[in-house]
């Protein structure tokens, strides 16, 4: 902190020499500016999620979560295959294509599975992004800078989980503009978006929307902490992840 402030002052001094001390630089350099951090901010080394598909597995249940998530994040409903999805439901074979068996239990064939961005440990979407608009935070959440994204959609080609959506059209055309969540920005046309593990909620000390809404079927916590709720369920139950053979190390686990 001290170091960066000194650097900043140095920088301000240099620019002031050229710019004859702009008022803005003066105000900042006087030491009034500092970032606001919520004390209740939830922190982890590696956020992860475990979804109990024994409890959460019907279209209706998942739609309820998706609606809550999409409403909170102002995700539009577009009735074509250019739609935007942060959280959605799919069959077993769509969710785990390489782990499909013949003659599966009928109940399992009918189950629906909630899908979302896995916030991979080694995310290919981050590797390919040419502008760093997709980046991995220190807590391993894979986040998006919508203002930097150029819409090349390389990240969509790279994500093996189909977790990303592109705003082919202006999303506001398909949003209920009278019913927006003013706490979260809407996006513009031509950028990619996806689930963000509700970083904005974590910053305020709250759990992600879908976790709160799931009535205990989704557990969220720090994967590196042996006492965290996720580690507890991972110890107890058999879980699988999507496409583990690709080495992306997904952060979303499914209890079957």
């Amino acid at each position: 902190m001290k170091q960066s402030r000194r650097n900043f002052l140095k920088f301000a001094g240099i620019s002031a020499a050229g710019l004859c001390l702009t008022p803005a630089a003066g105000a900042l350099a006087s030491g009034k500016a500092h970032p606001i951090v919520n004390k209740a901010h939830l922190k982890a080394k590696r956020w992860a999620m475990v979804i109990d598909t024994r409890k959460l597995n019907t279209k209706e249940q998942i739609e309820k979560l998706a609606d809550a998530c999409h409403h909170w994040h102002n995700v539009p409903k577009i009735p074509t295959n250019q739609d935007i999805k942060w959280l959605w439901d799919a069959s077993y074979s769509e969710s785990f294509p390489e782990q499909e068996n013949n003659h599966m239990a009928e109940e399992l064939e009918e189950r629906r599975f909630p899908l979302l961005c896995n916030h991979c440990e080694h995310p290919p979407c981050v590797r390919v992004c040419p502008t760093k608009a997709t980046f991995q935070r220190a807590d391993h959440i894979v986040a998006m800078d919508y203002h930097r994204c150029i819409g090349c959609r390389y990240c969509m080609a790279a994500c093996p989980f189909g977790a990303r959506s592109f705003n082919f059209m202006d999303p506001r055309l398909h949003l209920d503009m009278d019913n927006l969540n003013m706490k979260f920005p809407t996006r513009m046309r031509g950028v990619v978006e996806k689930c963000n593990f509700c970083v904005e909620k974590l910053a305020e000390g709250e759990l992600p929307v879908c976790v709160t809404k799931s009535e205990g079927a989704i557990v969220f916590g720090d994967l590196t902490d042996p006492n965290s709720p996720v580690r507890e369920v991972l110890r107890k139950d058999f879980t699988i992840r999507r496409k583990p053979e690709l080495g992306t190390e997904p952060g979303v686990y499914y209890i079957i």
């Binding site: 769509e94 040419p130 608009a133 090349c152 959609r153 390389y154 046309r189």
Partner: protein, 391 residues
């Protein structure tokens, strides 16, 4: 030298005017895309790259193929290519211009394109692709211009250009290799995830590019009387023959790996291309036609008698260009996304908007090429290097 482009016959100006009108009309479609976004394309959440990126891929190949002339001429002093080398370089310039245009029309926020340079990201292949393409463009403009200018002044090209020429030969390989790496490093895209993609791309480029060049030079000869000479044509068709055989061989390697291993993920894109998947057969007709064209072109190229048959050659080249274009400019991108991440099939077909915008860019390329070739052939005429008769 530019003044050469400003003096021409009514036919020349008529053609330029025609291209400008086409570009103008089609750019209205592009403006419509700018207003409404990429929603006017046939792309979707599952098939997020389409015709634009496919054309980009094909044209990078055309650009890279200039190497097949520059390498023998500059590195092995193969004199017979003297009349061909500038034409190859100018075709490469127009092809790179088109590739860059195709990337530009494909991005959702084109006004932010500079972000790629402002935030250089060495882990992204797209960043490197931009670097090598812009570099290749600069190299070819520099080399083409310098060599042509010294030819016009009847002096030897300056010495400093030599190392730059050598660099451009290596660079030519690099542009198509990096383009292949755009695809070849992505998990879960089985059709692309193959170490041979770069080699396949180069082989396809080294037959399709020179074939396209020879076809264009047919037209140039008709219009201006400029002829690169029989010997050059003969040698270049040999290059085309070898490259085409290697290209088809590499594709068969892919088929073997996919089907002998019997791994569904590797077979499915091939099945999709040649017999359709989950009822989606959009590319099947194209693929079989392309396969037939590729085989036929080999049959017509390998025996020297057929290859050197001057009236047969244009036909052979046309079907070769068609076959390789379907492979790289039509099917490669779509097959990479099929089946999609959920192992289901989402149909994709370019919309009329995509076709119109593509026509716009191809016309821009034709315009650039016409102007460059006008300059080159005028200078050759001044040097009385036009050889309308066969040697």
């Amino acid at each position: 030298m530019l003044e050469k482009a400003l003096k021409g016959s009514p036919r020349y100006w008529g053609w330029i005017l025609f291209l400008i009108i086409v570009i103008g009309l089609c750019s209205l479609v592009y403006i419509n895309q700018l207003i409404h976004g990429l929603t006017v394309t046939g792309m979707s959440r599952d098939i997020s790259w389409g015709f634009y990126i496919a054309q980009f891929t094909y044209l990078v190949g055309v650009a890279a193929s200039g190497v097949m002339i520059a390498l023998p001429f500059y590195l092995h002093n193969y004199e017979k290519y003297r009349g061909l080398v500038i034409m190859g370089e100018f075709l490469a310039i127009s092809a790179v211009v088109m590739s860059l245009c195709f990337v530009l029309v494909d991005i959702g926020q084109p006004q932010r394109a500079m972000n790629m340079i402002l935030h250089p990201t060495p882990n992204s292949m797209l960043f490197w692709d931009m670097v090598v393409l812009c570099g290749y463009l600069a190299l070819n403009v520099l080399i083409g211009w310098t060599c042509l200018e010294s030819e016009r002044q009847r002096v030897h090209p300056p010495k400093w250009i030599k190392p730059i020429i050598y660099l451009s030969v290596v660079w030519g390989f690099a542009i198509h290799t990096v383009t292949a790496f755009l695809y070849a490093g992505l998990p879960s895209r089985h059709y692309w995830l193959s170490a041979i993609v770069a080699a396949r791309f180069l082989a396809a480029a080294f037959c399709a590019g020179p074939a396209l060049l020879l076809l264009i030079l047919y037209v140039v000869r008709k219009l201006t009387g400029y002829y690169q000479g029989d010997a050059a044509t003969k040698t270049l068709t040999k290059t085309i023959t070898y490259a085409m055989c290697v290209n088809v061989f590499f594709f068969m390697l892919e088929l073997f790996t996919a089907f002998y291993s019997n791994i569904p993920g590797h077979m499915e894109p091939m099945v999709f291309l040649f017999s359709g998947l989950e009822g989606n057969t959009s590319l099947v007709g194209w693929m079989w036609a392309a396969a037939a064209c590729c085989i036929l072109s080999i049959i017509l190229l390998v025996p020297p008698k057929l290859r050197d048959n001057k009236s047969l050659l244009p036909f052979t080249l046309v079907i070769l260009v068609f076959g390789t274009w379907v492979d790289k400019g039509m099917s490669f991108v779509t097959a990479g996304f099929t089946p999609n991440a959920f192992n289901t099939v989402t149909p994709y077909w370019p919309t009329s908007s995509e076709i119109a915008v593509s026509v716009m860019i191809w016309s821009i390329g034709a315009l650039v090429l016409t102007i460059l070739y006008k300059i080159a052939t005028d200078i050759k005429r001044d040097l009385s290097e036009l050889t309308p008769e066969d040697e």
